[in-house]
C-alpha cells in the first residue's frame, strides 16, 4: 500500500488549499458536532478547578460508594471521592497525554516520511520497512512493554504512545513528497539554488499539511484510547491522580454493586473518541473527497 503514489494537486499556495478544505468542512454537519463536543471537553478540562463541585482527591469514608445524587452527580467511589470531579480532572490527563504524544508523532513521522520520500533509494526502503514493522506490531503490547519497563511516568507514557503513532504519519507524508519531487517547480527551485530544507519546508510541507492534520485528529483519538487502556491495565499515572482508565480500573473492582463507577468514565472516553472520529472523518472528506470514508 505504501507504494501507491497519490496524485497531488498543483502546489497552490497553502492558504488556498486550507481555504478549500475549510469550505468543504463547513458543509459537514457531523464534523461540526464532533468539533463542538471535543471543544466542550477541552473547556471542561481547562476549567476543572472552577466547575468541579468537590476536590477530586478529597476522601470521605462516611460517603463511600454512594449512587448518583444531587450532591454527587455521578456518585462517590470506594474512598468517598466525588466521581464527577475526578472525571473533570481526569480529562486533563487524557488530553495532555493524547495531544502531546500526537504532536510528537506528527512532527517525527512527517519528518521521517518527507526525508524518505525526498532522498529515495536505500534510505527510503529501510526507513519505510522499519515503519511497516512498527505498524504491524500490536501498538498496545509495545506501549505496555515500554511503560512497564521504564515506569509509568507521564514522560514515558507519552514517549510510548508517540512511538507507536509515528508510522502512519511517515506513510502519509512520504507519498506526496515523492509525487511533488518530480514536478517542474521543484526542479525550478533547485536550479535557483534553494536548499533541500527550504524546498521541503516551504514548498512541500504546506501541500501535505491538511492530510497530516486529518491523521492527527484520528490518531489523537487513538492516543487517548491507548492511554486509557494502559491506565486500565495498571500502567497509568500513579494514584491518587485521577485518570479515566485508572478510574475504570478502580471502579471495575466494585462492578457488582457500584457499576456507575466504571461506566461513567467509560462513557466519557467513548464520547471524546467518537467526537474526534466524527471530526477526523469529516476533515478527511473535506481534504480528499476521493478517500471518502476509507477505514
Amino acid at each position: 500500500m505504501s507504494d501507491i503514489v497519490a496524485p497531488v494537486a498543483p502546489p497552490a499556495p497553502a492558504s488556498n488549499a486550507l481555504r478549500a478544505t475549510l469550505r468543504a468542512f463547513n458543509t459537514n454537519k457531523a464534523s461540526w458536532i464532533g468539533l463542538a463536543i471535543f471543544l466542550i471537553v477541552v473547556a471542561a478540562a481547562i476549567l476543572a478547578p472552577l466547575i468541579a463541585p468537590h476536590d477530586p482527591l478529597d476522601q470521605d469514608v462516611l460517603d463511600r460508594l454512594k449512587p448518583p445524587s444531587a450532591e454527587h452527580l455521578l456518585g462517590t467511589d470506594y474512598y468517598g471521592r466525588d466521581t464527577f470531579s475526578r472525571l473533570l480532572y481526569g480529562a486533563r490527563v487524557s488530553l495532555v497525554i493524547g495531544i502531546v504524544s500526537t504532536l510528537i508523532a506528527m512532527a517525527a513521522g512527517t519528518l521521517i516520511g518527507m526525508l524518505a520520500g525526498w532522498r529515495g533509494g536505500r534510505f527510503d526502503t529501510i526507513t519505510m520497512q522499519i515503519m511497516d514493522m512498527l505498524l504491524a506490531f500490536p501498538s498496545l503490547i509495545l506501549g505496555l512493554i515500554i511503560v512497564a519497563m521504564l515506569g509509568p511516568s507521564i514522560e514515558n507514557i507519552i514517549a510510548a504512545i508517540a512511538l507507536t503513532s509515528v508510522p502512519p504519519f511517515a506513510r502519509i507524508a512520504r507519498a506526496p513528497t515523492i509525487a511533488v519531487k518530480g514536478r517542474d517547480f521543484v526542479e525550478a527551485c533547485r536550479s535557483l539554488g534553494f536548499s533541500d530544507t527550504r524546498i521541503l519546508s516551504v514548498h512541500i510541507l504546506p501541500n501535505i499539511f491538511p492530510e497530516i492534520l486529518v491523521m492527527g485528529s484520528l490518531w489523537l483519538a487513538n492516543a487517548i484510547r491507548t492511554e486509557a487502556s494502559l491506565a486500565f491495565i495498571g500502567l497509568g499515572l500513579k494514584p491518587p491522580t485521577p485518570t479515566w482508565g485508572g478510574m475504570i480500573r478502580e471502579g471495575f473492582e466494585n462492578i457488582l454493586d457500584s457499576a456507575w463507577l466504571a461506566i461513567a468514565p467509560g462513557v466519557a472516553i467513548l464520547i471524546v473518541i467518537f467526537a474526534l472520529n466524527l471530526l477526523g472523518d469529516g476533515l478527511r472528506d473535506a481534504v480528499d473527497p476521493k478517500l471518502k470514508n476509507e477505514a
Binding site: M1, A30, Q129, I130, M133, L135, A136, F137, P138, S139, L140, I141, L144, I145, I146, A148, M149, L150, A221, R225, A228, S229, F232, I233, G234, L235, I248, F252, I255, L256, A259, A262, I263, G266, V267, I269, L270, I273, F274, N277, L278, D281, L291, K292, N293, E294, A295
Partner: protein
Amino acid sequence: MTAFLIRRIGFAFVTLFAVLTLVFVIVRIVPGDPAQVILGDQASREAIEAMHERLGLNKPIVTQYAEFLGNAVKGDWGVSMVSGRPVMAEVLNVLPWTIELTVVSLIIGVVLGVPLGVWAAVRRNRFFDYAARIASLLGLSFPAFVSAIILLFLFAIEVHWFPVISARSGSLAAWTQSITLPAINLGLISAAYITRVTRSAMLEVLSEDYVRTARAKGVPARSVVWRHALRNALIPIITVVGLYLSILIGNSVLTEIVFSRPGLGKLIVGALNQRDYTMLQGMMVIYTLAVVVVNLLVDIAYGFVDPRVKLG
C-alpha cells in the same frame, strides 16, 4: 507466485530477526538487575551471583546474544522467573484460548461487516448508509475494555445470561457460555472496521467501467454487486483486516482481562506485574510470530483473490 512468496518469507525472517534483537536489547537496557528483582532486596551477594550464572548474565554480551538467538530458533525461551516452568509451555498452555477467541470474533466481524458494508455502499447516501456509517464509527470509537465492561454489566450482572468469569470449558454448552460475550465484544468492534473498509472499497469498485459493462449486458443486479464488484473489492478489505489484526491483539488483551478469561492477555499482564522478564521476552516473540504469520497469510490471500499478484 513462488518467487513472490520466497521474497515475502525472506522479509518475514528479517522482521522476526529485528524484533528478537530489539527484545534482547530492551530487556538489557532496563534499569535494575533482573537477578536482584527475582531474589528481592534481601538476597545475598552469592545468591545473586548464582542467579546471574543461571540466567547466563555473567557471559559476554555477544555470547548471550548468540545463545538467545539460537535458543529462540530452537523454541527454548527459557523458564519463567516466577513459576519456574518453561516459557514455551506456559504460552502454549493458554494460546488455544486466545486463538479461539480471535478466530471466532473475526468470523463475527466478517459475517456482519462485509454484508453491512456492501449494503451501505449500494444504498449510498440513503438512510441505511448513514445509519451504518454512524454505527460503525461509534463501534470503532469504543475502547475494547469499555464495551466489554458494558456487556458484562448488562448480560452477566443485570441479566444472568452469562457467567461473570468466562473461563469454563469441557462441554459445548460451557464453551459457548464462556466465549459468547468476549467474542461478541471483539466481533462487534471488528465488524465496525470491516463495514467501513468494505463500504469504501465497494464505492470505488462500483464506479468502475467493468461494473457498468456487466450491468449493461444484463447481469442481474445482485450478481453484479456480490460477484463482480465484491470480488474486486476484496484486496483492500483483506489488507485492512490484516492490519486490523494488530489492533485485535491489543483488544483481546483488554477483553481477556475484563472477562477473566485465560489467554495471552492475562499472561502478559501477569508477567508485567511480576517483572517476569523471560516471560515477557517469550511473549514478544510469540506476538511477532503471530504478526509475521498473518502478514504472510494476507500475502497468500492476495494471490488467491487476484491472480495478477502472482506475477509480482
